[in-house]
């Protein structure tokens, strides 16, 4: 089977063009505003400007990118780049901004192509076809970039390039690309520890000689810091202001719509406990009121940014240690990918003010792991079901409801088909009956949202209940994935590296130990919770 990589890319671009008329979110205005700010103001005012609510809160490279884009924008529609033109959305503006996302996705395609090559997946293999389809037609990117409106595609392209350089053992280039990526969108700090540990171990400490190690560390630091200096250089006298925009801790523990993470479960537990114990509700804003601001839990202890930070790092440690303990480069590569997923997932689970979109940082690298190992593929399938499902609240307009379900179903069904196609004889790709039941249970939420609640007139009384159900249901699933996948990544023997994917045999004893560990881990998990 031929891969047709560029034809698949052309098809995916065509679908993205078709999606241009779909309704966009406020992020569209956010990016238009940034075009206007960078175009009409001197660089020193970029991070001070606050005419619009949507102030510039991405790192400088992204601002430079918008600045370059704004020249083309002013050519297309000069009104687009006027700061005071709030909520300006002429047809030309819509086409320009949407097309800029679609064109920038070329970087994404290059990243996908490069990473497939770096993983030594031959172009004509079914693996290559599956990975190309899953990445280029990624339904999460379609939702977030091409309907909701953001520029994640090309950022993930840079990430994939950085990953492929690392897999190709071009470490300095990889560090440089990753640092550049951070200067585009600092949320990729979530997965930085995996890069740091891998580069430290296999680049700096590769030779036993201490002097070489120091030289390597210096080289790595210089290469890694170059993009950072280039980015922040022009803002050297207003670093505090820039950082206060980049890390707004005033926004509260959870977003208006709770991302399906640990804190969603925490908040729900708090609500339930408060109801059960009849704690009178405080007059302040509550978590479900749909506002972005700080709130106090009614029953459980209050969480500070520091707590979330410590928890996140704590949960990253085991996989980082595991990665550090590898001795062979070729064997460590699959685990590096797993570490990227797990680090992102830890940050997603425990981070401060996490958005639901951040789960893409687990889901996209998992598309690569999907074609490497049957077990990874099963976990990727599981997380995809719930991860993309949890993005639905982003697309809430009535005209895209059916569309979002159809796209989601097509993607998940394709993934299921590929699971059976790539791993035809492996028992491990089958989900447990209870897991299957849980996946099918997803249907209940749309059923409630669109049929039961309007019929019972609950939609006026409890308008946020579907959102709460979505984040709770998916939050449980993501937590389950996090625990299971973490244990799988830790338990995997070094021999099962990605080069030996064909003779990777299911091992019943490991699954048993995984289950045993699963129990003990979840107990540990609970005791940790109590400790807080």
């Amino acid at each position: 089977m031929e891969c047709h990589f560029w034809k698949i890319f052309a098809l995916s671009s065509a679908v993205k063009i078709l999606l241009i008329p779909s309704p966009h979110s406020t992020d569209f205005e956010v990016h238009r505003n940034w075009l206007a700010i960078t175009h009409s103001l001197p660089i020193s005012k970029w991070y001070y400007e606050n005419t619009s609510n949507w102030t510039l809160d991405y790192p400088p490279f992204f601002a430079y990118f918008e600045w370059l884009l704004s020249y083309a924008a002013s050519f297309v529609d000069p009104q687009m780049v006027v700061v005071t033109n709030l909520n300006y959305a002429s047809t030309a503006t819509i086409y320009f901004q949407r097309c800029s996302v679609i064109i920038m996705d070329l970087v994404f395609a290059l990243g996908v192509r490069r990473s497939l090559r770096a993983l030594k997946i031959t172009q004509s293999s079914p693996q290559s076809f599956a990975a190309a389809m899953l990445l280029l037609f990624n339904v999460g990117l379609l939702f977030v970039d091409h309907m909701h409106f953001q520029y994640n595609g090309f950022l993930f392209g840079i990430l994939l390039l950085s990953i492929s350089f690392l897999l190709e053992e071009r470490y300095l280039l990889s560090a440089f690309t990753f640092a550049t990526l951070l200067m585009f969108k600092h949320i990729f700090l979530y997965m930085a520890p995996a890069f740091a540990v891998y580069l430290l171990k296999f680049y700096c400490l590769d030779s036993k000689c201490a002097r070489n190690a120091i030289i390597c560390i210096v080289k790595l630091a210089v290469v890694g810091l170059t993009p950072i200096v280039a980015a922040f250089g022009p803002f050297y006298n207003q670093i505090d202001q820039v950082f206060s925009r980049l890390f707004p801790f005033k926004r509260g523990l959870t977003h208006a719509y709770w991302a399906p993470n640990f804190w969603a479960l925490y908040n729900t537990a708090d609500k339930v406990a408060a109801k059960l114990l009849r704690i009178p509700s405080t007059t302040g804003p509550s978590t479900t009121s749909g506002l972005v601001q700080e709130f106090e839990p009614q029953f459980l202890p209050n969480i500070t940014p520091r707590t979330t930070f410590v928890l996140t790092l704590l949960f990253m440690l085991p996989i980082l240690i595991k990665l550090f303990a590898y001795t062979s480069k070729s064997e460590s590569k699959a685990t590096f990918l797993r570490a990227v997923v797990i680090c992102s997932c830890s940050s997603f689970m425990f981070g401060w003010h996490v958005h639901e979109k951040a789960l893409l940082m687990c889901l996209l690298p998992l598309c690569l792991l999907f074609v490497l190992h049957s077990t990874d593929a099963t976990y990727a399938y599981w997380l995809s079901i719930f991860g993309y499902f949890s993005l639905f609240p982003l697309l809430h307009q009535s005209c895209v409801l059916l569309l979002r379900y159809a796209l989601y179903l097509a993607y998940v069904a394709f993934m299921y088909g590929q699971l059976a196609n790539l791993y035809p004889n492996e028992r491990q790709t089958k989900l447990h009956a209870l897991e299957k039941l849980y996946t099918v249970g997803c249907v209940l939420i749309p059923l409630y949202e669109h049929f039961i609640s309007p019929l019972l007139h609950l939609d006026e009384k409890l308008p946020f209940l579907p959102l709460l159900l979505t984040s709770l249901y998916c939050g449980l699933a993501v937590t389950y994935f996090f625990i299971r996948y973490y244990l799988h990544a830790l338990a995997i023997s070094p021999s099962a590296s990605f080069t030996s994917k064909t003779n990777f045999k299911p091992n019943t004893t490991t699954t048993k130990t995984v289950k045993a560990k699963d129990n003990s881990k979840s107990k540990l998990f609970k005791s940790k919770l109590k400790a807080q």
Binding site: E2, K7, L18, C399
Partner: protein, 484 residues
């Protein structure tokens, strides 16, 4: 695994339709008459507010000049059903006379969803059934190809989900009927086809081959009593379905004729706008519209159509095979499109629907034809503001079906360099004509030059495919007989 892939393909097809639904519809924001969208909405208004006997009658409350109902009863019942749902949701959607020209996002969503519902409930399942029936007779390896080629056909998507119509219902019933008949389920087939006919009278384009095929199956029974029994059962099914559906208008001959008169208006002229059919092309060199009266024209059309339809169907009667059946369906429908009276450009969908069944016998020719059918409706899409979906869908279809899927299976036709080159040249020319017509204004002396060019260009292709189908039908049956 196959099932997961089919589910993925069907979901993707629904997604594409839902995306096209986001675009504008015919007559959006164009008072006072608007377009087909308003026609469908107006029928909901009429059917929910008036007694059935007034649906087709010109009264003070039902001005037939404003999108009067001119489709058969099943369409009216469907409108009645939708109108009731719409009224439950928001009474202003179907308020008598006051609701004319209602346009809002909520209403658009409602109307678009009603078309998508028909896609999900009737059209796509019909294609799926047809696909399993036809592919079962052929090699299984390549089966998935056809499903994609069938469900992504852009013509139906652009007309139903873009322009706004419910062809998916009548075509869905028709395709289901073909599937049933090919599966030897003649009673189901005749019932479902009657439904199709009662949804849109244009389904008459397919009546001859279906009638002949069913008649021949009656003749093929062993004894005379069995022949008669089979014929009587089919006749009873068809007649009783008609009677039940037409019940409100069967009270008197006048009321029945009133409905019939609405369905077949002779007064409208031989063609509207620019259609890629024979008369329209002849009209370029010889102005028949001015030289011949409407009555004479109708007779002329009837004569030419009959001259083609009769031999094709007589041949079908004596060569009853499934392949002949499918070919004759295409060529009969094509005869009506090319030579009959009062043809719309959208009627090409009635030729394209049975042509979908020929995809696995003649992939290259049929794919070529299908792409031209979409192109022939280009002026309509420009009018509706659907240029972008037109280009993108045709691009997706071309790449998906020709470049990826069909090449994968190394079809012998695709190894034929000359044919492939001709195909590509034709498709690229189509693309160029469409682009030029968009960006280069027509000269003042010939304001319709582009739509005429498109008509003539499509007509040439249609005529060639028409000849190809007839040739296949006649020549193949002779070679088969010789071989036997």
């Amino acid at each position: 695994m196959i099932n997961a892939n089919i589910l993925a393909a069907i979901s993707a097809a629904i997604a594409v339709r839902a995306i096209v639904s986001l675009n504008s519809y015919s007559g959006q924001g164009k008072p006072p008459m608007y377009g087909d969208y308003e026609a469908q909405r107006h029928w909901q208004e009429i059917t929910t507010n008036l007694e059935p006997k007034y649906w087709y009658r010109n009264t003070s409350e039902n001005d037939l000049l404003y999108w009067g109902l001119d489709y058969p009863p099943l369409t009216a019942y469907h409108s009645y059903l939708l109108g009731n749902v719409a009224g439950k949701y928001d009474e202003s959607f179907v308020e008598l006379t006051k609701s004319r020209g209602v346009e809002s996002d909520a209403h658009k969503t409602f109307m678009r969803l009603s078309v998508l519902l028909a896609d999900v409930v009737i059209y796509l399942p019909a294609l799926l059934v047809l696909f399993t029936v036809i592919v079962n007779q052929q090699n299984k390896k390549s089966m998935f190809v056809y499903l994609i080629a069938m469900i992504l056909y852009p013509g139906q998507i652009l007309i139903d989900n873009g322009h706004f119509q419910y062809n998916n219902i009548s075509l869905g019933f028709f395709l289901l009927a073909i599937a049933a008949i090919c599966k030897e389920k003649h009673y189901v087939g005749s019932f479902v086809y009657t439904l199709a006919l009662n949804y849109k009278q244009m389904e008459l384009y397919h009546a001859f081959p279906i009638f002949i095929y069913l008649l021949r199956t009656c003749f093929d029974q062993k004894s005379f009593s069995q022949k008669l029994k089979k014929f009587l059962i089919i006749a009873t099914i068809v007649v009783s379905t008609f009677v039940v559906l037409w019940l409100p208008w069967l009270g008197s001959l006048d009321s029945t004729l009133e409905v019939v008169g609405r369905l077949f208006p002779i007064g409208r002229g031989v063609f509207e706008d620019k259609v890629s059919n024979f008369w329209c092309v002849v009209n370029v060199v010889y102005k028949i519209k001015n030289k011949i009266s409407n009555q004479q024209m109708a007779m002329l059309c009837l004569g030419v159509t009959a001259a083609f339809v009769l031999p094709i169907n007589v041949h079908l009667f004596f060569n009853k095979r499934k392949e002949t059946f499918l070919l004759s369906l295409v060529s009969t429908a094509m005869t009506f499109y090319l030579f009959s009276f009062q043809v719309h450009e959208k009627s090409i969908l009635l030729v394209a629907a049975p042509a979908l069944c020929l995809l696995n016998s003649y992939p290259l020719e049929t794919l070529w034809f299908l792409e031209v059918t979409v192109f022939s409706m280009f002026p309509l899409f420009v009018k509706d503001g659907l240029e972008m979906p037109f280009f993108v869908l045709l691009f997706i279809y071309h790449i998906c079906v020709k470049d990826i899927v069909l090449k994968e299976y190394n079809y012998r036709q695709f190894k034929n360099r000359v044919m492939t080159a001709l195909f590509s040249t034709s498709v690229y020319s189509m693309f160029i004509i469409a682009c030029v017509s968009l960006f280069a204004p027509a000269p003042a002396r010939y304001p319709h030059i582009w739509s005429l060019l498109i008509s003539v260009y499509s007509f040439v292709h249609f005529f060639l495919y028409f000849c190809f189908c007839i040739w296949q039908q006649f020549v193949n049956s002779f070679t088969k007989i010789k071989a036997a």
